[in-house]
Amino acid sequence: MFHYAFMVHALLAAGFVAVLSGLVGWFLLLRAEAFAGHALGHVGFTGATGAVLLGLKPLVGLVIATLAAGLGMGALGARLARRDIAIGMVLAFSLGLGLLFLHFYVAYAAQATALLFGNLLAVDRGTVIALAALSLVSLLALGLIARPLLFAAIHPEIAQAAGINPSRLGMAFLALAALAIAGAAEIVGVLLVFTLLVGPAATAQRLSRRVTTGLIIAPLLALAEAWSGLVAAYYTGWPVSFWIASLSFAAYILATLSRPALA
C-alpha cells in the first residue's frame, strides 16, 4: 500500500486536513456556525469550477472563494438578524453559478463529480505541499486565537466587556474555517465537508464535556476516520469519500447511543 505514491500522497493530504478540520469543527459547533460552514463549502464549489475554467487548480479557486466568503460572513456579524437567510441565498446562488462554469467546461461530468465528492486518490505532490502549508498556517492562527475564541463563544457579553472585539474575532475565525473547508473540500468534496468538519467534532462533543479532552478527541477522530476510510477504499475499491462519510456517521451514532443526551 505504501509503495504507491498516490496512497502516500492521499494519506498525507488527508492527515493534515483531518486534524485541522476536527479542531476547527469543534469551535464551529460551539459557535453555532455549522450552517455558515456548510455554505462556505458550496461557495468553494463556485471558486473551484471558476478556477478550472481558467485553467487553474481547483484548490486555488476553493481557497480564494471560501476565504472571501468567510471574511464576508464574518463582516455581516452574528448581530445581523436573518444572517442565515442571507447565507442561504448566497449559497444557492453560488451553486447555480458553479453549474454555469461547469457548463462551459468540456470534461463536465468527471470534473463535477470530483469537486462534489472529492478525488483523494488523484492528489499530487504539489497539492500535498499546498494542503500541508494551508493546514500549518491555520493551526498556528487557531492556536493564537483559541482562548479568546472559547471565551467569546461561551460568554459573548462578558468577553466583549473584557475588551474582546467580537466582530474582528468572528471574522478571523471564519477566515480560518474557510481555509479548513477549502482543504476538506479538496479531500472529500464540497458536498461532504461535514464528514470531516462537523462529524468528528459532534462526536467529540457527545463523548466529552471537557474543553481539553474535546479538543484532543475531535482531531484524532477526524484523522482516524480519514485514514481508515482511505485504507478501506484501497481494499474494497469503493470511493474514499463514501468510506470517510460512513465512518464519520457511524462514530456519531455510536457516541450518541453510548451517551444518550449528555445535556
Binding site: G143, I145, R147, P148, H155, P156, Q160, A162, R209
Partner: protein, 268 residues
C-alpha cells in the same frame, strides 16, 4: 440621597449628569449618583427601564451620550480589571461541564491555547468552593438546576477577584428558597472581598435582607437612596409620573403602579 459615605475619596462608580441612549431613544437622562466601596445596591425598575443599559455603560460597552461615568476612579472602559459582570443572558456551550464554563472566562482575552495552568485551576476551584458549587462542577452545565447555575455563574464572577460586581437579574427564574440562597451568597461575598455589588431585580423583596441602598430607574429618571426613603408612594409616583402605591406586608414590599385595588388593601 447624600449619605455620609458619599464623601469617600474614591467612589467605585460615579455618574455625573450621565445621559444614556440607544439611537434617538433616551434611556436615562442626566443621572447623577455615586456607589461607595463595599455596599450592596439593588437596581430596580420596570421592564425596559434601562437596567441592562446602565450595566453596559458601566462596563464601557456604550458611551454616555452626555455627562460622564467613572468606574474605580477612571472613565468607564472595556477590559478594566477589578470589574466582574454577570449578564442577563445564559452562557452558550452548555454541554460543557460547569467547571469548563467557568474556566472559559478566566483570563479569557489572553491569546493562546485554552489550557489553564495550576494557579488558574486552583483559583477556579476556590471560587467554585466558595459559592458551594464544587459538588456539581463536573456535571454538564445544562443539567444543573436554576439555583445551581447561579452558584456556578457567581463563581465565575468571583474568580476575577472583583472590586465591583455587576449582576443583571441573577434571581429571575429562581424559586423563593433559591433566591434566598443566592442573596445569602451575595452578602458572604461582600463580607470576604469587600466589593461593591450592583444587582438588578424585578422584585425588591428578596434583596431586602442584604441591600444597603436602592437605585430605582423609571422613565429615564434615577433615584438612589435607602429603601425606606426611595421605595415610597411619593418618590416612585414622581419617577413614574403616575400614581404608584407601595404596600408593605410581612417583611415584603409590593410596588403597584396605579392605585391599588381596594380588595388588595383589605387583604394586606
Amino acid at each position: 440621597m447624600t449619605g455620609p459615605r458619599m464623601t469617600d475619596p474614591l467612589p467605585i462608580v460615579r455618574a455625573d449628569n450621565a445621559t444614556l441612549a440607544h439611537g434617538s431613544r433616551v434611556v436615562l437622562a442626566e443621572a447623577s449618583f455615586t456607589l461607595v466601596p463595599g455596599e450592596i445596591v439593588g437596581l430596580l425598575g420596570p421592564n425596559g427601564a434601562g437596567k441592562s443599559t446602565l450595566f453596559r455603560a458601566l462596563l464601557g460597552l456604550i458611551a454616555p451620550r452626555a455627562g460622564s461615568i467613572t468606574t474605580l476612579g477612571r472613565p468607564a472602559r472595556t477590559g478594566r480589571p477589578g470589574i466582574s459582570y454577570l449578564p442577563q443572558q445564559e452562557p452558550n456551550g452548555q454541554f460543557l461541564s460547569a467547571w469548563d464554563v467557568v474556566a472559559a472566562a478566566h483570563a479569557g482575552n489572553r491569546p493562546g491555547l485554552p489550557w489553564r495552568n495550576r494557579a488558574a485551576r486552583a483559583a477556579i476551584d476556590a471560587a467554585l468552593a466558595e459559592t458551594g458549587a464544587a459538588g456539581f462542577a463536573q456535571r454538564p452545565f445544562a443539567s444543573l438546576s436554576g439555583g445551581e447555575r447561579q452558584r456556578v455563574l457567581l463563581a465565575q464572577a468571583l474568580a476575577g477577584q472583583p472590586r465591583l460586581l455587576l449582576l443583571d437579574e441573577p434571581l429571575t427564574s429562581l424559586d423563593p428558597a433559591a433566591q434566598a440562597e443566592t442573596v445569602g451568597l451575595l452578602s458572604a461575598i461582600r463580607a470576604r472581598l469587600g466589593c461593591t455589588i450592583l444587582v438588578s431585580s424585578h422584585e425588591i423583596s428578596p434583596l431586602l435582607p442584604v441591600m444597603d441602598r436602592v437605585l430605582y430607574l423609571a422613565r429615564g429618571q434615577a433615584a438612589l437612596g435607602p429603601v425606606d426613603r426611595v421605595i415610597t408612594g411619593p418618590v416612585l409616583s414622581g419617577l413614574y409620573g403616575a400614581p404608584v402605591e407601595v404596600l408593605r406586608a410581612g417583611g415584603r414590599i409590593f410596588v403597584l403602579p396605579g392605585e391599588a385595588p381596594a380588595a388588595l388593601h383589605q387583604a394586606v
